[in-house]
Each structure stands twice: as C-alpha cells, then as structure tokens.
C-alpha cells in the first residue's frame, strides 16, 4: 500500500515539472520548426491529443468503451460547416462559430447517452457503433449535409507559410485545456464516482452514486470536447465528407491511443496520441499507397491490443515498483537470496511486496467506492 502513492506521483501523474516542460516545448514548437509539413503533423497530433484525452475522460474513467465518438466529431464539423454556409460567414469570423460545435455535440450526447448508457460493457460498445452508423447514414442522405459531396469551409486568406500556426495554437490550447479538465475531474469527487462505476457499478449505486447522471455528465463533457476537435479539424482541412466526418477509424484510433498509453490514466492518452499520430501521418505521407498504410496501422493496432493492452504507463509503473522493491530489500541488507526460487516462496516478507504492488486495481477497488458513498447517500 505504501508504494502506491509513490507510483502515482512518479508515473501516472509525472507532476508539474514534466507538464510545464511539455507546455513550454509546445508553445515554442512553431517558432523553432517552421517546416509546413511538420507543423501540419503537429496540428493533427494536438487535435488527436485533445480527442484521446476527451475519450479517456469518459471511457477510461468509467470503463464504458465508446466506439461512437466520431458522432460528436462529425456533428461538430458539420454544425460549423452548415452554420457558416447558411449565415454566409467568411474568413476569420468562422472561428466565432466554435462554441456552436460544442453546443451541438453536447445536445447530441444527451439522447445518445440516455439510450446507450442503459446497457453495459460489450452491449454498450455495440450500441455506440450502431448509433455511429445511423449518423454516418444521415450525413450521406440528408440534403442539408451536402450528401456525399460534403461541405466546404470558408476560405481563409492567410499566408501559406504561416497558415498552420493559428491552428497550432488553437489545437494546443484545446489539448492543454482538456488535459487540465481531465486532471481536475480525476481528482474531484465526480472523478472518484466515475472510477467507482468502473470498478463496480452496482456497488457504487448501492453506496449512493447516481450512476446514470454521473455517466451521462462525463459522456456529455467528452462529447462537447470531441465536437470542438471536429470543428477545428474541419476548419483546418477546409472540407468535410461524410466518410471522414463520421469515420470508424477515428473511433478506433483514439481508443488505441488511450490503450497504448494507459487506459484510464491521466497521461496515457496524451502519450499515446503524441507517439501514434505522427507515425500515422508520416506513414500516410511516405506510402503513396493508403491501403498499405492501413495494413500497417491495423497490424500495429493488433499487436498493441495483444501485448500492451494494459498500456505502457501501467506496465512501466509495475516494473518500476518491482525494481524499487527489489532495491529497497537489497539496501535493507537482506541482499539477493543466493538461491532465489525456494526461499522467496516461503519467506512471507519477501513474497508480500511483489504480490500486492502489481495490482493497483484491487487497492483502488477497495478505496474508491467508499469515497463517494457517504457523501452521495446524504
């Protein structure tokens, strides 16, 4: 138990120094690197950081894996697109429409959540996929979405060499803002309730967590952010087509990013997106054949699921605590046992340390439902 706070501080939340360093690096990035391809990849990456953190804020915290977040992404993109078209918004003014994207995505998230959150686990996943396909179908078939031609964004009269920079800072602000929001939620009573639902929804409910309300709130917050990401992406790409606005690969990609970094952790989705999106972009740029990059992407995805499904961060955290425990034992003067296998099995002190450290879930399970319980019941 004593090793858990150390692990939490050291890896799951690397603390203010790393965060500040990342912020600084992010702020000066476009000043140092002016290559247009590089800044374009950076904008995409930051958008995916925001989307992955937003996804994790709902799916990672509650354990409800959503494969329907592209609904919010597409809703955000189409909302600003249609609004700009109908109200004849031109040039820089288009960014004034951004709040609309969040609002529309939030409005979609409420009925979506009310229907989908009635079922759990795999059925939930399947329902989100089904609802996602309804939206894609609507985008293809309604006349106001432009059908399969999609909608163009207002033209921006910016100089090509600095075109990416405003987008970079907007995406950066969004990503940093969502990360902060996730941090606040994680450490709040609300976040504790979300994780209590993940560990044991029925027990959490029994302890007084209003499960539906809590889940729905997280779902809507997550949806609003994803809608904003979609709108920014639309302005950046300057066009939305139904198959890219409502893209099944988008759902998978953000889930994969969260999984590879560490599902349900604060830093996992950030690291996952920072690691994966540039790789994906470079793959797409380098291989003129998009099918080959799809093949590589799928294979990578499968390998992550099979071998790293618990995430790089949690696995690294366990390795680190195990290593620390070994070192502490050595420093305590016990020394590494000469014949490791037989004595370790018998000695209770030696066996207890590795046995309880690799299971952070169990400790959390015992701790978290108790947290929101008394408060929620009152």
């Amino acid at each position: 138990m004593t090793s858990l706070p150390a692990r939490g501080k050291g890896l799951v939340a690397p603390g203010p120094i790393v965060a500040a360093a990342l912020l600084l690096a992010g702020l000066i990035f476009p000043l140092v690197i002016t290559n247009e391809t590089a800044t374009q990849i950076a904008v995409d990456t930051l958008l995916f950081v925001a989307a992955a953190v937003a996804w994790n804020l709902f799916s990672g915290f509650t354990g409800y894996i959503s494969l329907g977040h592209a609904v919010f992404f597409g809703t955000g993109a189409y909302t600003v697109g249609i609004a700009a078209q109908d109200w004849h918004v031109t040039g820089d003014l288009e960014f004034a429409l951004l709040p609309l994207a969040g609002l529309a995505a939030g409005l979609v998230a409420v009925p979506f959540g009310l229907i989908a959150l009635r079922v759990r686990r795999h059925t939930f996943v399947v329902v989100t996929i089904a609802i996602f396909f309804i939206f894609q179908l609507m985008a293809f078939n309604f006349s106001f979405t432009g059908g399969s031609v999609g909608i163009p964004a207002p033209f921006l009269t910016w100089a090509p060499e600095t075109y990416n920079n405003p987008f970079y800072y907007m995406a950066f602000a969004l990503a940093a803002g969502v990360a902060l929001l996730a941090w606040l939620i994680y450490h709040s009573r609300f976040g504790l309730q979300l994780r209590a639902i993940r560990d044991d929804e029925d027990r959490a409910r029994g302890l007084g967590v209003r499960a539906m309300r809590v889940k729905l709130t997280a779902f809507v917050i997550s949806g609003v952010v994803t809608g904003l990401v979609g709108a920014l992406w639309f302005f950046f790409i300057a066009q939305v087509l139904p198959q890219y606005g409502f893209d099944p690969i988008f759902d998978l990609t953000i889930a994969l990013m969260a999984f590879i970094g560490g599902f349900g952790t604060l830093w996992g989705p950030i690291l996952g997106a920072l690691a994966l999106e540039p790789v994906e972009q470079v793959l797409t740029l380098r291989l003129s054949n998009s099918y080959a990059s799809e093949l590589i992407w799928g294979t990578l995805f499968l390998l992550v699921i099979l071998f790293l499904s618990r995430g790089v961060l949690p696995i690294a955290g366990e390795k680190l605590t195990a290593w620390r425990a070994r070192r502490e034992r050595r420093l305590a003067g016990e020394g590494p046992p000469p014949g490791p296998a037989p004595p370790r099995g018998v000695a209770p002190t030696a066996a207890s340390t590795p046995a309880d450290t690799p299971r952070p879930d169990a400790a959390e399970q015992a701790g978290s439902p108790a947290g929101p319980g008394p408060a929620g019941a009152g």
Binding site: V126, D202, T299, L302, I305, R310
Partner: protein, 292 residues
C-alpha cells in the same frame, strides 16, 4: 398497393434469411466465447471475393464453390481464434476482443484493397439475373437459392447444437465456462471450433451477398453494422432472436423501400433504438447478469 406490399414482404423475408445466416454465426461466437467479432462483415466480403476468384478463374459454380470456401473460411476462423482471441485475458476481455477483431477487420480490408483494388464487383451466374414467375410475383432465383441455403445451414447448425455431443458441450460452455471445464470439456477446443463455425457460415453469406449486391473491400462496414443491429435487436447470444430479427429487418427495409429507398436502412436503425430504449436486452435476450 396490396400486391406491392406483399411483394415487398416476400422480398424482405428472402433477403432477411440471408442476413440471418451471417448473424447466427456472429451470435454463436458471442454466446460461446463472449466475443463480438467485428470482423464478421469483412469476412463475408473476403468469402465473396474467394467465390469470385473461383467462378472467374476456375468457372466453378457459386454454390458448388461453397464446398471449397466453407472449409477455407472455417480454417481462417480457427486461426483467428487461436492466434489472437485466445490470448486475451482479464476483466476487459470482451471489450478487448472487440478491439482485436476490429484490428483484424482493418488488416483484412487492407489486404483486400491491395489485391482487388477499390472497384466494385458482383458475382455472376445464370440464376443471378433470372426470376421465377409464381402467382404474379417475380422471385429472383438467387434470393430463392440463398434463402434455401440459409434454411439448410441454419437447420444443420440447429442439429449440430441440439442433437450432437459437440453441441452439448458447446451449449454447456455457453451456459457456464467454469462448470463446463470442471466436467471435462476441452474449452479451448470448443471455443476454436465455435469461432470456426461462426466464421464458416460467412462463406454461404458471401455468395448470397455478393450475388445480390455490388461489393468492394469497404462493403464490410455496411454489413457489420446491419449484423450488429440484428444481434442486438434479437438479444445477444440468442440464435432464435437473431433469426427473428434478421427476417424483421429484411421486411421492414423492403416495405419502407417502397416509399423511400434512401431511408429504408435508417428506419431499421431507428426501430433498433426504440427497442433498446424500452428493452435494453433486446427482444429475446436475457437480462444482463450483475457486471463483474
């Protein structure tokens, strides 16, 4: 009007039978292994491409070709289960299996695009474009044959599940994995065979789908969304439910198609959302047990 409606219903039932076959495979896999095989749609397309190759290069009849493609698809299913699905452990197993099979989907889609390109193809045979004229209705032969095939396969599946020793151990595994293992059932073998059978039926589905629709590697998404909708509507893991929901879906779609072809699919999904609002476990599903 009445005639048109009746015709639409007959068309719907016939088309629904074909979907039933594919959906039964999906729900069987879910029932036995707790795995949602998102790759089912693209596997149907893969099977359709196999039949296409056989009929174009070897001039093998589509239905005769099933004698080749069914064992091939069965083998692919077993390989997917043994290589990928069996490795998944832990409490997020079902959700992880979903993601893993999604990855399989992307890989197969990439391979199909690389080998066949994005152009649409259809399967051809003499019975694809001809119809049987009965009582004033024109019934396309391919729908009749496809429906008959679906009935035969589902009946065979029923016999296998309820009248054989393997079916007994399979149903035991569906009911309680641990207990099944305790009485000496080789769970791994049952799981691999169930996955193989579930994927094996896509061979017949591929012929029926490929002969009635133009397809390319992207068609798997449309298929899987329909199949998922069918098994949720019927109740996940319920074979009878999948049959009923598939026929229902075919009929609803064909009837709405009379008025508005673009919206016929959406109406079905809308019905799905309505059912879920009032019966989250689907029409024939059991209420979900306490989440572990």
């Amino acid at each position: 009007m009445g005639h048109q409606l009746l015709r639409a219903i007959i068309d719907g039932v016939l088309a629904g039978g074909v979907y039933a076959l594919m959906a039964v495979g999906l729900t069987l896999i879910f029932g036995v292994l707790d795995i949602i095989n998102i790759a089912q749609g693209i596997l149907v397309i893969l099977a359709a491409y196999l039949s296409y190759l056989l009929s174009v290069h070897l001039h093998l009849d589509l239905f005769l070709g099933l004698l080749v493609t069914t064992p091939v698809m069965f083998g692919i299913g077993v390989v997917i289960q043994v290589l990928f699905m069996r490795r998944l452990r832990g409490r997020e197993r079902t959700s992880m299996s979903l993601l893993a099979s999604y990855a399989v989907l992307i890989i197969i889609e990439g391979i199909l695009y690389l080998s066949f390109g994005p152009d649409y193809v259809t399967l051809n045979a003499w019975y694809v474009n001809q119809s049987l004229h009965v009582l004033g209705f024109y019934l396309p032969y391919i729908y009749l044959f496809g429906f008959a095939l679906a009935v035969i396969m589902v009946a065979a599946l029923y016999l296998l599940l309820y009248r054989s020793r393997f079916g007994q151990s399979l149903r035991a595994t569906m009911q309680d994995r641990t207990a099944a293992r305790l009485i000496g059932i080789d769970i791994n073998r049952v799981a691999a065979l169930a996955f193989g059978i579930g994927v094996g039926v896509t061979a017949a589905g591929g012929v029926a789908f490929g002969a009635t629709n133009a397809f390319n590697a992207n068609s798997g998404y449309d298929l899987i969304s329909r199949l998922l909708a069918i098994i949720i509507l019927g109740g996940m893991g319920s074979i009878g439910g999948a049959l009923a929901a598939a026929i229902m879906m075919g009929t609803v779609e064909a009837v709405v198609d009379i008025w508005s072809p673009t919206w016929s699919v959406a109406v079905f999904y809308l019905a799905l959302v309505l059912v879920l609002t009032f019966r989250p476990q689907g029409l024939f599903g059991q209420r979900e047990a306490r989440a572990q």
